[in-house]
Symmetry: C2
Subunit: 372 residues, 2 copies
């Protein structure tokens, strides 16, 4: 067993993503599944490149879809700070599924969770971050007619009865085993997974329909939905299906970009100067001298700059392969790569920040609370 940890509240060590499939009992997205998915539209690069690499019950979701029983998407965000590129990755992927399958998305903002799990945040803080973060969601171009943001404390009247149905069927033993809780956890933390499970069944509360639910999320969130999946049949609901992504890497080369390490994290609100500085200091694994790099080549497998192109910024698989090849041969130096990535991120953020400003006028169109 490798010495790494992946839970909703802690990701540490060198993650072995194959091992996680075994550990969590999920299913790899294999060639056959990619082939099937390609029938609905051009495969997203994050699928082709194995960024979204694991699933639960995706076959069933597609079977239902093929029979005319559309699923809805459910994803979310714990609003404890500003948004970075690692947060955007699964959201961009959600947008692709929404467009490809023409389906609804419920986007949960867990202001209650972040309040309960952070000593230094007030409920007002997390609610403010929720509105700030909603701007980043909206900026990605979701269709307001098909996308609703579910702010927990605002939509609690809708969520609470669903959460109670879940909570009644989850013992502290289970919560301990799944989340690693002990006697020092507060009773809100212990209850919270019920609230994260609730949107899996939200269409039943809204429309009386047991609509299939597909959750694209980081694999660190799987624990919550293992609980939700265990409970679903007990309350007469279909188990939510999942699509798991790997973590978005830190600029330091670590496995997960984290808001708590701002120098190795690109926030959507960063200005070009800051981006340049952060990318300039990024970990690449390159050699100490130009001479040596030319001779021995670089290491795209551990290079943060390469991973960013790979995950988010280079749409062409061929270009990615060529870049890796040239790097390994020493034909491209880290400085060049950093410059290209800096330009791409700067351009991306310029557009995003513009759309984020425009989003301020649209927030109410996206909030579910105005409907419940």
């Amino acid at each position: 067993m490798n010495d790494f940890k992946v839970t909703p509240w802690e990701v540490s060590g060198d993650i072995d993503y194959d091992e996680l499939i075994t550990r969590f009992g999920t299913k790899r997205i294999d060639e056959e599944m990619l082939h099937r998915l390609a029938k609905y539209g051009p495969l997203h690069p994050m699928l082709r490149r194995g960024v979204f690499y694991s699933q639960r019950d995706l076959e069933w979701i597609l079977d239902q879809y093929d029979k005319g029983n559309k699923f809805f998407l459910y994803t979310g965000r714990g609003p404890s700070g500003h948004i970075h590129l690692g947060h955007l990755t699964p959201w961009i992927f959600n947008r692709w599924i929404q467009d490809t399958f023409d389906v609804k998305l419920y986007f949960q903002m867990t202001d209650d969770e972040k309040f309960l799990f952070n000593d230094n945040l007030s409920l007002k803080d997390t609610k403010n971050f929720a509105y700030e973060n909603a701007l980043d969601v909206i900026a990605l171009g979701f269709d307001p007619a098909k996308t609703k943001i579910v702010l927990d404390t605002d939509c609690i009247k809708l969520l609470y009865p669903l959460a109670l149905e879940v909570a009644k069927r989850v013992t502290f033993s289970t919560a301990k085993a799944v989340f690693g809780f002990d006697n020092s956890n507060n009773i809100g933390e212990i209850f919270y997974t019920s609230i994260q499970a609730a949107p899996c069944f939200i269409e039943h509360a809204l429309y009386g329909k047991a609509t299939p639910c597909l959750i694209p999320c980081g694999i660190d969130q799987d624990a919550h939905f293992r609980v939700a999946r265990d409970v679903a049949p007990m309350i007469g609901m279909p188990k939510p299906a999942l699509l798991h992504s790997k973590m978005f890497p830190s600029l330091s080369g670590g496995d997960k970009m984290s808001s708590s390490e701002p120098n190795t994290t690109i926030f959507t609100t960063d200005n070009p100067k800051t981006v340049k500085k952060k990318i300039g200091q990024a970990f690449t694994g390159g050699a100490v001298s130009v001479e040596e790099q030319r001779k021995n080549g670089g290491r795209p497998d551990i290079c943060a700059v390469f991973k960013y192109q790979f995950i988010l910024f280079e749409p062409s698989d061929e270009a990615v392969d060529r870049l890796a090849e040239r790097c390994r041969k020493g034909e491209v130096l880290c400085g060049e790569c950093k410059q290209i990535l800096t330009e791409r991120i700067t351009k991306f953020l310029e557009v995003h920040q513009q759309k984020r400003e425009e989003a301020k006028e649209k927030v109410q169109d996206f909030m579910l609370s105005s409907k419940c």
Copy 2:
């Protein structure tokens, strides 16, 4: 240590009420306090006779009141079935405080609690009982302008942020110690005390005011408010004060009238024939023969019929003392007492049932949910 148990979910054994004061660390309502209370209006029989016999911070509540800082009342009901006389006792007392001090009352209906703690009840069941039970509250003549019924699932948007503030500051260790939880309790049960604590601070949520709160309730509910009182200063709120009553006895002579033993319990919906039958079978502790009873006398100290007169139906202290005296001397037989009590309960229920019917038109005036 006596072998009895008093928690919000279990009352068993022969309760030693004096011992409970020590065990819970509350304060007896002594002569000095009764003297002070008498200044606000004629003392209620339940105070004179020690039915409400224990308190926390009542001096402070009265000090604040004397300075012009009015408290509000908070009491409640777990809607898991129909209402019996034992439920009405503290509500009648609340009505007296409301009238005497001209204060508001928030009446919590914990449909969520009863759902979480009862395998056989759905949330729909407990919500239905909540509306049924509300009729009994309203029938007691509370002023709708000063009385609001807080149905948890309906008012959760107001209660949840308050509950989160509490939950963040209560560990599982504390919940275990106070409520006797273990690993087999469900995570909703563990969280629930936060929801019962929330109305202590409801005026802060509604009006931004840290209004003093006084909770008249059965002493079995004390555990919830020990938790609420510990947390209050941490969130900048005054500790809720308490007035504790003894349990309303069962007709079998047991310490607590219980819905789960319908034959020894008078429900507000019982008809005269049922009342007559139940009282006829009540435990009195009297002798097996008339002859023996005339000779040795009865035992009002353990007689359920006497306790009912004492607690609820005989307003005159003198008449109560005289009845006890006559019973001990064998001057009154159990049959006579049962007949008098039957008549009084029948008359009381006739009026109550009429008012309960009229209450059906008034429910919306009393529900807080229409305001939040």
